[in-house]
Symmetry: C2
Subunit: 421 residues, 2 copies
């Protein structure tokens, strides 16, 4: 299964060496070959995409007609949007979410909706890990990561409220990019937590995700082969280091040494207590807001929620506003402290997950090494290229300064180049 | 037209001196008497409210069965929600917005949807000012303010992106309360600008709005007759003072002297340049986000937008991401500066609008004295009680510290008591 490289494909499209229709047919073939096993799509409409692919002028646009998958937690006007829940089976939103409108305006062809766990929460989905079909692809952006990893799509949109872009990307051996909070608008996705829900992208390599983000937003993020010059990279194992497997620690060591060999200045760093403590604020904020965000479904359709989510909301409703306010203040102070820290480092490097993708489908894995960075709103990138001794992908996570996505991507690019040499 | 006093009514309901049904029938009578002239409702369902009013146990809940109006920019599961736009005529959202779910859970009866301007923007609505039917009630929460001012409702929910709660409340001579940003969740309203849209409340007096906010959120905001003790009130006329009428300046003077007579320490204050300059950031943030929020309607239904909004979005689409980022940083710095300022003052007092409600219906008036406080996210309250020489209501605006809504309401309560003595 070779990955589809978004940036190279766009170059070829822009130069007229191929056409949107030809790329789409390659995608259709890959889907025909692999989807029955991987089950990455909640909805597909290749014929509609074919019609759009044949429109004049498409290849001149930034995304040049590249096929894009949209996580099924995000509204689309022409494809059903079920949010991974039977309550919304067949739901047809009136409007495209802004990120979908931006993608189409940039010349992306939305070929299908990718599988999400129920409301992007924890209940495992139907999707299989293309790198090993007996293993979870992670969650909640399971279909987005799996479709890219299976070579069925060059770009897919995902979302992360705790670790839902970084974790599946790492488990499937592709790049997950969670931009600075709200760099991609979250409007039109099914809200779980409005202070945490973050729109992200999954693509083959760092430069593919960066290219897609640049094309969709019109921002200066298309780094290509640019790598950060002698970046200061702090290795942060966090207070939760004991939850990471020996192989995850080894992967972090390998990535650190490789980056060093390419000129990075690498050192270990213990986070300030104020930053470590903020980790606990994540659940409070997420759950207090989820209890409100799902107030309607909880009141009128509780039986249509998974037992896991219903029980979670039972507890979430008991969080007092004062407890929530305190968590928000904790997060705000931690954001300031993290800003201070970035005066002295260019990026943090940490685990993407406690280990490689767990075997089986009882769990989608843990967001324990992601949620703090979601809470703090800073850019994070799952960098692929390493693997465990038995051949499963093992990601590492680069974390950058709030609003400095280009710098974060350039450091991630260096690490990616370093570990794939 | 006597106003319906939410807090007193709730007291009577809690004590069993009246019943939800009896209050609802009073509301129904007031609507029958005045709605044909005021035109505050976009949808009404009194029979559904009657059925809900008769449910056992309602009067024991915080809102005790009080009738509530919901601005028609906010989703309701049992009433059509048209967002003030012909594009959404007859639109039936699947879910209650969280603020509606919270209101119902607290024992509020949603009797109808109140008129909003098109997408809560500037195009004038059908609604008339109950205090003078030849004048605008303001916008965009026109129906919410007018319904309360006409004695048709004790509480109505509104929204503000620039000045859409404070302005109509002031024009109609009632209380408008824009809480700290996201104290009331904005999920389930039609988004115009996600960093600015703010949910607010309109009620007769300050203590009525405070009571309703406490009941809906479960927060400690029910101030009753509590007034701030010897508060430090800074009179802030802003760099835009010349846009305020002589009568607006006189109202501010009157309110200042009255507050002083009740023990407030009142002084004039020129805002720091960094705060004044942030005012210009509002339009950039609002419009950049609106261009994305309405990307779908703009692309597929442009002819269904008002020419005013369509032209506005034409221009909004040209704002560069870098310009937007700069405006966001300006706002962030201004928030910090305003926080510093509140070490030395308890509240700011400023204009609610440049003057009283304009005659006619060509405009809903100007948000020029509101938008900075929306941008900075701090609580703001339009305090009623003053009037112009020809008898039109003239509000003043109290602005408090971010997150300290109780304190802001207590200062507003003092000012209200002072000017109505």
């Amino acid at each position: 299964m070779s990955l589809l490289l978004a940036r190279d494909l766009a170059d070829a499209l822009h130069a007229g060496r191929t056409t949107p229709r030809a790329v789409l047919e390659d995608v259709a073939q890959a889907i025909a070959a692999r989807e029955s096993q991987v089950r990455a799509f909640a909805a597909l409409d290749l014929d509609r995409a074919r019609a759009a692919a044949d429109k004049a002028g498409l290849a001149a646009l930034p995304l040049a007609g590249l096929p894009v998958g949209v996580k099924d937690i995000i509204d689309t006007r022409d494809l059903p949007t079920a949010y991974g829940s039977p309550l919304y089976a067949g739901h047809r939103p009136r409007n495209d979410a802004p990120v979908v409108a931006m993608t189409r305006r940039a010349g992306g062809l939305v070929v299908g909706k990718t599988v999400t766990t129920e409301f992007a929460f924890l209940k495992p989905s139907q999707t299989r890990n293309p790198r090993r079909l007996t293993h979870t692809p992670g969650g909640s952006s399971a279909g987005s990561a799996a479709a890219v990893a299976a070579g069925m799509l060059p770009v897919a949109i995902g979302t992360q409220t705790a670790g839902s872009v970084i974790r599946p990307a790492a488990f499937c051996g592709v790049t997950g990019y969670k931009p600075t909070f709200r760099l991609l608008p979250t409007l039109g996705m099914k809200t779980f937590s409005w202070h945490l829900d973050t729109m992200g992208l999954i693509a083959a390599r760092v430069r593919d995700a960066a290219f897609a983000a640049a094309a969709i937003t019109g921002r200066d993020l298309d780094i290509g082969d640019e790598t950060a010059e002698r970046p200061r990279i702090a290795i942060v194992r966090t207070a939760r280091a004991a939850q990471a497997s020996a192989q995850a620690h080894a992967a972090l060591d390998t990535a650190a040494r490789a980056a060093e060999a390419m000129g990075a200045r690498v050192f270990d760093l213990d986070l300030l207590q104020e930053l470590e403590a903020a980790d606990a604020a994540h659940a409070t904020i997420q759950d207090f807001e989820a209890a409100l965000a799902f107030a309607d479904e909880y009141e009128y359709d509780r039986d249509g929620l998974s037992p896991q989510l219903a029980a979670h909301l039972d507890a979430a409703r008991l969080i007092a506003p004062e407890t929530y306010d305190l968590a928000r203040r904790t997060a705000k102070r931690a954001r300031q402290k993290l800003g201070d820290l970035f005066a002295e480092v260019d990026a943090l490097m940490t685990f993407a997950a406690p280990g490689a993708a767990p075997e089986g489908f009882a769990t989608t894995g843990s967001p324990v090494f992601c949620r703090l960075w979601t809470l703090l709103g800073c850019p994070a990138i799952a960098v692929a290229g390493l693997q465990t001794s038995d051949g499963l992908p093992m990601g590492v996570q680069l974390v950058g300064r709030f609003g400095r996505d280009r710098q974060a991507l350039a450091v991630a690019n260096l690490v990616e180049h370093a570990i794939s040499r």
